[in-house]
Amino acid sequence: MVPALASRLLGRRGTDTLEAREFWAVEDVSFSVRPGEAVGIIGANGAGKSTILKLLTRILRPTQGRCGIRGRVGALIEIAAGFHQDLTGAENIFLQGCIMGMTRRQIAARFDDIVAFSELADFIDTPVKRYSSGMNARLGFSIAAHMSPDVLVVDEVLAVGDWRFQKKAFDRIGEMVGRGLPVVIVSHQLERIASLCTECLLLDRGRIVMRGLPDDCISEYVTKGIQTQQHAKEDLPFRVNALDVEPRGALQSGQWITVRLRGEVTAPAGPHHRLGLRVRALQSSQIVSVVDLTAQEPRLLEPGAFEITVELQLNTGKGYFSIETPMWNTQERRELGQGPHALTRVDVAAFSGVTNLHPRVHVVTHPPLKDRELRSA
C-alpha cells in the first residue's frame, strides 16, 4: 500500500496491473441512463452491483475508465448514515439533508412535508438514539425523497421497514420514475425491478452477462441461478431436454398457459420414480402446485423419448413463478434432482392474495327493524 500511496500523493497516475489475489470488482461495464429510463441491476451477491452504485455516487473512483452523473444525485443507499445519535430527529433532518446536498433554506421549506411523510411528528424532537430501526428508515427515506434530485440511485435501502412503509416508499419511487427521472435501482426484489424498470442489467462476478428487458434478464438470472446448484450426483431416471412455456411475457391471473416438456426416460427408471411439474412462487419460495406427471400417465415409466403438454390455469396473485421439473423416488421418499426451469410473471390480478378462490357472493338483506316493529305492532 505504501508505494501505491506515495506515488498517488505525488500526483502520478495509478497502476492498472493487478497484483496477486486482487480481482476486478467491476470489469468492462458500460451503460448510460437518460431521463425517462429506469435501469435495474440484478445479480448474485458479490456480483458488483453495490460497487457500481458507489462508483456512480463518487464514493469509489474507477481504477480505469470514467463515470459520472450530470445533475444532483439522490442516493437512496444508506439513508440514515449521517444521523447523529445524540441529536433530535429535527436536527438530523437538517444534518442529513445538508449531507445529501440541500441547503438549509431548502430543508426548512420542506421540513413539514418531510415530517409528515415520515409519520414521526410526535417523535421529531426526541434524540434519534431512541428511534427504532424502522423509524430511522422512515425518517431517512423521507429526507431523501424530498430532495428533488436530478438522478435517483437506489440500493437495497427498503429492506428495513414494515410492509406499509415499503409500499409507500416504492410508490414514491415509482412516482419519480413516472415523472421521467432517470433511475438506477439495485434490488433482489425481482418483482419490483420488473414493475419499475425499463431496462435491466444482469451482473455476474463484475461483468455484464445480459442486458435487455427486465423479464428476460430476470428469467436468465433465475434459471441460471437455480441450474448452477443442480449438478446431479447420481443418474436421474428422467432427462428433460427442453421446457417451454407459452404464452411468454407478462400474464393475467386466471390465464391458461401451456407447458411443453421434451425428454427421455433413461434405463434406471422404475415404478417408484416420479416426474413432476411444480409451480413455485419465486419471492416466497412457496409451492403453489405440484402435478405428478407419472401418476397421470403411467406410460412415462417406459424407456424412450417423450413429449408432454400440460395446461395450467394460473389462478395466482401477482409475481414471478418458476416452473420446475422435479424428480423423486417414492420408495425412498426423497427428491432426486430437477430438470430445467422456466419463469413466468403474472402482472395483472383482479384480486389480491395467493390464489383466486373465485368467490361468488350472495347477500340476503332483511327489512329495516323499524318497519318490522310497526308491522307487528
Binding site: 500500500m1 500511496l5 498517488r8 500523493l9 505525488l10 500526483g11 502520478r12 497516475r13 495509478g14 458500460s30 451503460f31 448510460s32 441512463v33 437518460r34 429510463e37 435501469v39 458507489k54 455516487t57 463518487r58 464514493i59 469509489l60 473512483r61 474507477p62 481504477t63 480505469q64 475508465g65 470514467r66 463515470c67 459520472g68 452523473i69 450530470r70 444525485v73 442516493a75 443507499i77 444508506e78 448514515a81 449521517g82 447523529h84 445524540d86 441529536l87 436536527e91 437538517f94 444534518l95 445538508c98 449531507i99 445529501m100 446536498g101 441547503t103 438549509r104 431496462e199 442486458r211
Partner: protein, 319 residues
Amino acid sequence: MEPNPGSLADATHVWHDATSGDVTDDWMPSSEHDRSVAHDLREIVRDELWPYRGLIYEFVRRDIRVRYKQSVLGFAWAVLTPTLIVLAGVLVRYAMAYVGGQTLTLEDLAGIAVKAVPWSFFAGALGFATTSLVSQANLVTKIYFPREVLPLSSTLAQTFDSGIAGLTLLIAFGVLGVHYGMATLWAPALVACTFLLTAGLALLVSCANLFFRDVKYLVQVALTFGIFFTPVFFEPQMFGSVGARIMMLNPLAPLMEGIRLSVVFNHNLLDDMLVVGRTGAVLVWSPWYLAYSAAWAVLMFVAGLVLFHRAEPKFAEYV
C-alpha cells in the same frame, strides 16, 4: 440504452475518472500527465470547499452541540483545558523562580495564560481531527461529500471552543490590569497563522490515521510531550542564545512567543527584542521569526489540502 455516452455533450457534467480531473468529451482514456499542485488547489477550492461550505457549517454546529449535550460541565469545558495548563505552568514557573531566586510577576503569569489558549487549541484540534475520518467511517463509505469537511469542521469546532476560552482570558486580563496597546492587534494575525498550521496538520493527520491506524497514538504521544518542546510554560531565552534559536525552529514557538510579546508586553513584532540574561544579550524576537512561522503555516495548509485531496479517492477502500 447504448454504452456510448458520446451524445451527452452539453453544459455542466461532472465526470470523475481515474487520473486527472480534466473534463473532456472524447472517449479516450484521460491524459497521462501528472497533476500539478496549482491545478489540484483550484479543484479543491472550486469543486469541494466552496460548494460544500453549508455542510461544513452544519457539521461544526453538530460537533459543538454534541460536545455539550448531556454533559455536566457544559461550556465550562471550553475553559477547562487552558485553565489546567495555566495551573501546571504556574507550578513549573514557581519552582523555577524559587530555584532561581526570583519572584513570579504578573507578566509571567499572564504570559503563560496567553500561551495556554493557542496550545490547547492546537492539541484539542489535532486530537479530535485525527480520528475524524475513521470514527465516521460510515459516512466515508456510504455518502458522497468532500472528505475535507470532516477534519476541517472538527478544527473549526475547536476554534469555537478556544474562542470562548480566549475571550474569557481577554476579559480576565482587562480586569487584572494587563495593559493592552496597539501591538495587541498582532494577535489576530498570529491566531490566523496558528489556525492555518493546525488545519493543515489536521488534514494530514486524519488522512494518515485512515491508512495507518497507529497514527492516533503517535499524535497523542507527540502532543503529550510536545508541550515541553514548545515554549508554553517557559520562554526561549531561558535556554540561552543558542538554545533560544533552536527552540524557535519549532513553527509553533514564534506564534506562541509572538502572542505573548504582543499582548502582554505590547511589543511591536516588527522590531527586534533583546533581553539581557546571565550570559549576555539574547535575541528574544526578530520579525524573521514571524515570517518563518507564517511560511510554515501556509505551506502546511496547502500541503494538507493537496495531499488529502490526492489520497481521498482511496478512502472508501481503506477505511
